[in-house]
Symmetry: C2
Subunit: 506 residues, 2 copies
């Protein structure tokens, strides 16, 4: 037995050491996006590129590949050792994916997406799709090659999806999105019209950023984000990153005239952060210590942002906090006003600013277009036309420029194809969690209106967080909620909420 | 020629890549000492240890050692190529030092100083020397081994000194310190008595930290620290660190009732920072892009902290700034009061809080004791007695506990022997720079009282910063000031200042 144990230890040690480098790289990136001096960018890129190279070498190391194969054999011989089985399966899965990609393709892609993101950033500023097109052509060409090498069940797109959401499937998603679209389009039509009719119900006061900071911290702490093992900072594009098993950094952004924007960003990122803080620290760097999938991750952020943050009980707790923290500024506001204000529905161009009713339509458009880009049915040159046509068809609006059109998201410039659908999966999964929670935990509303979010977090810790990658995302959903993922709970949740806030009559 | 050029490029590339890792490690450490969440410490230590290991491997790489030997040969064949000569010489010098140290000694030392710093930190809190003694015994034992292996001209201590200050020499320092002590003791006696007689001349107002932050930033910017390529943050023990050729981070600390303490820390660290910002960025990671020595580094920090920050012209500029920034709080203060207040002399226990007159006596005590620890003349067990006796002899005071006695500095617990003397060298060199500057640049006072510090910084850039390690520290001083380092300019500077502030009659 001593030989296999030693191989096991070596394999785990190797993965943990890779995680040391990955989390170090995350620290460099966190610093880059928080307070790094302006002139330091070029050298920071060199540091990150160098670490990426070291990490890539480790991930494709031949000796580790051999050890992983031994682990798989050993796991087969010990069917009762579930931890080993899970770990061996995931390490092998990642290895197989990597082995399918030739080094020159990986290197060409790395270069293309560094240049792609720079070009995208400038093109977006200039609102010029032509400035981005050459890079997009290169990225799509390389991504098609990659997708063809990774193809699953004859679908190239599936090969990309699988990176972010194991087991997700193009055909299944097409059905899901078609169904969702059919149900959402009439809801959006009615609710957007009602929102417009209702007119202005709240004008947010001007609040200095410093005061917004302490309020955001207060809320993040209240919902359960640990500041002993985390920080809340400020950046241009909010995100969450993990620098170690007890070091999760969340970032929000502030506008003097929109406290609520920072608040929802904070709740969203705190949702991600609490998931990371709930993963088993002793398995950090190994599958059992890693998040299940991007869809599961997003189910946490959207749950805290929307199911909690845009609920009446939340505002019953939060409104007095606002009034206490900012004397006089929210004197007219009631929990009901804030509940209705934060659930308005409107047809708008920008995904990240969109409401719960329209959000998944933004994603459906991206999902449709990226499938066509990968299959070759759509040429990158024709992206703007396809984009604008889809917005007209799905939302009845047409962007006046590419910055609020097909250049708004960074994803494609960073080579992230197959990533967008996980946002919608997150929304659907969150609704399915909430349905189960309400059935099993009971009346959360009376807790939440007192600011007690601990039972909810406790449920998520027990049912989702602690498992890491023990279950595939689909299996996890089924195991916890008793049925496969569906759009039903989400549509029900949305309909109830929009009815309660007076935007739907049905 | 193609072969040598390729070797040259490979050698430089290797050093630059090592610098990528070193500056990444510095980023981890900066984050650890600024805002890292409390629970993240253990994993951060793992990240840093892992990177240290990678760096150590690279520094002792056999192929690089061979390339460096080729460089040395090639440099000998091209006597006119000064850049190559300097680079080859320094790389070889570092290589030779490293090759003298067996791996097991390096590893034992690494472990001893990690444990040593932890033990020291707790022992200092508990004011218990006994708690630190076992670690100190180990460190001193290992350090003696190391020193014997590195010995220069028959002096083990020289081998340690040489790490921080190339060419510095125990025998020469002994003469220097003896001379300095002889001159300082009567100055301190007279000035401390006069300070006491004079009584309180200023009580600092209570100022919120947030307001202190912006004032410190204003002053750092005014003296010339670039915030385009740097940051000013907050920590327990102020320091300066370089995360890249255009990324220098300085850190200060704040006390509500002592704005001036933060100001002098900021000026000190900005002095270090401006040196780093003045090194040639294109040579980052190579000798020509690195600071000349710790003594030269300290000459920059002490020059800005003391020769500038504790001068009358500085206060002529700064007092109105204080009054403008903090309306009403410094209404009674005049440039003269602040000049005198910031140049008071008193016999106190803590080195980092001591004034310019007593500071070098604190160093002289440490220099004397660490020589004896390394030679074996002093047993670590007897350190407290030796320390207290020296304080009584040099300063006429005796610490009431070890926290304000021999446990006050972190250095020895971190294995830093031969480091303390560079602080005094920095003071002496700073005074020698200033003497030369006043002769060559002319009347700086009339510029400084208007807040124009650019000509001074320009002089330092041209004469000191831009050379990196082109000259040994001794050679640099002689080249710029026209004579070897001596204590005369410092004693003259100090005497003049204490006479001007009314503390010396002589």
């Amino acid at each position: 037995m001593s030989e296999p144990i030693s191989i096991l230890e070596q394999t785990y040690q190797w993965e943990r050491e890779t995680a040391l480098l990955e989390s170090t790289q995350a620290t460099l990136e966190w610093d880059e996006r928080t307070g790094m001096p302006p002139a330091a960018g070029a050298y920071r890129a060199e540091q990150i590129t160098y670490l990426s190279g070291l990490i890539h070498q480790r991930r494709t190391d031949a000796a580790q590949a051999d050890r992983i194969d031994s682990l798989v054999q050993w796991a087969n011989q010990q069917p009762d050792n579930e931890d080993l089985a899970v770990t061996a399966r995931y390490l092998k899965r990642n290895l197989v994916r990597r082995q399918k990609l030739p080094l020159d393709l990986v290197q060409a892609m790395t270069k293309a997406i560094v240049l792609g993101q720079q070009a995208w950033s400038q093109a977006r500023k200039a609102k010029s799709f032509a400035d981005f097109l050459p890079c997009l052509n290169t990225i799509v060409k390389l991504k098609r090659e990659e997708a063809n090498l990774l193809a699953i069940d004859g679908s190239a797109y599936n090969g990309l999806l699988d990176e972010y959401e194991e087991g997700a499937n193009e055909a299944h998603l097409q059905v899901l999105f078609a169904d969702l679209r059919k149900q959402l389009v009439p809801i959006v039509a009615e609710a957007a019209e009602a929102t417009q009719k209702r007119g202005t119900i709240l004008v947010q006061p001007t609040i200095p950023i410093e005061a917004q900071r302490s309020f955001n911290r207060l809320v993040a702490e209240q919902v359960g984000f640990s500041f002993d093992a985390g920080r809340l900072d400020e950046t241009d594009h909010p995100f969450c990153t993990t620098l170690g098993p007890r070091d999760c950094r969340i970032l929000t952004r502030y506008f003097e005239n929109d406290l609520l924007s920072s608040l929802f960003s904070t709740l969203h990122e705190a949702g991600h952060g609490m998931y990371e803080q709930g993963l088993p620290a002793e398995h950090f760097g190994l599958p059992l210590g890693s998040y299940a999938s991007l869809g599961i991750h997003e189910s946490q952020s959207r749950l805290w942002e929307n199911a909690v943050g845009r609920s009446l009980p939340f505002w019953q707790w939060c409104t007095p906090q606002l009034q206490k923290q900012f004397p006089g500024l929210f004197a007219q506001a009631t929990p009901e006003t804030l509940y209705r204000y934060t659930n308005s529905v409107s047809r708008s161009f920008i995904r990240v600013e969109s409401d719960e009713a329209t959000y998944n339509l933004h994603i459906a458009i991206r999902f449709e277009i990226e499938q066509q880009l990968i299959s070759g049915a759509l040429n990158p040159t024709d992206l703007p036309d396809a984009w604008n046509a889809a917005y007209m068809e799905y939302l009845g609006i047409s962007p006046s420029n590419h910055a609020e059109g097909c250049l708004q998201d960074v994803h494609w410039s960073a080579g992230l194809f197959g990533y967008f659908p996980t946002y919608t999966l997150g929304n659907l999964i969150a609704a399915q969690w909430m349905e189960t929670i309400q059935q099993s935990v009971g009346d959360l509303d009376s807790l939440h209106c007192r600011g007690d979010f601990r039972p909810l977090l406790e449920w998520l810790r027990t049912n989702v967080h602690q498992h890491g990658k023990r279950f595939t995302p689909g299996r996890l959903v089924e195991r916890v909620t008793g049925r496969p993922l569906s759009a039903i709970p989400f549509v029900k949740y949305l309909t109830q909420k929009l009815t309660a806030t007076g935007l739907l009559v049905s």
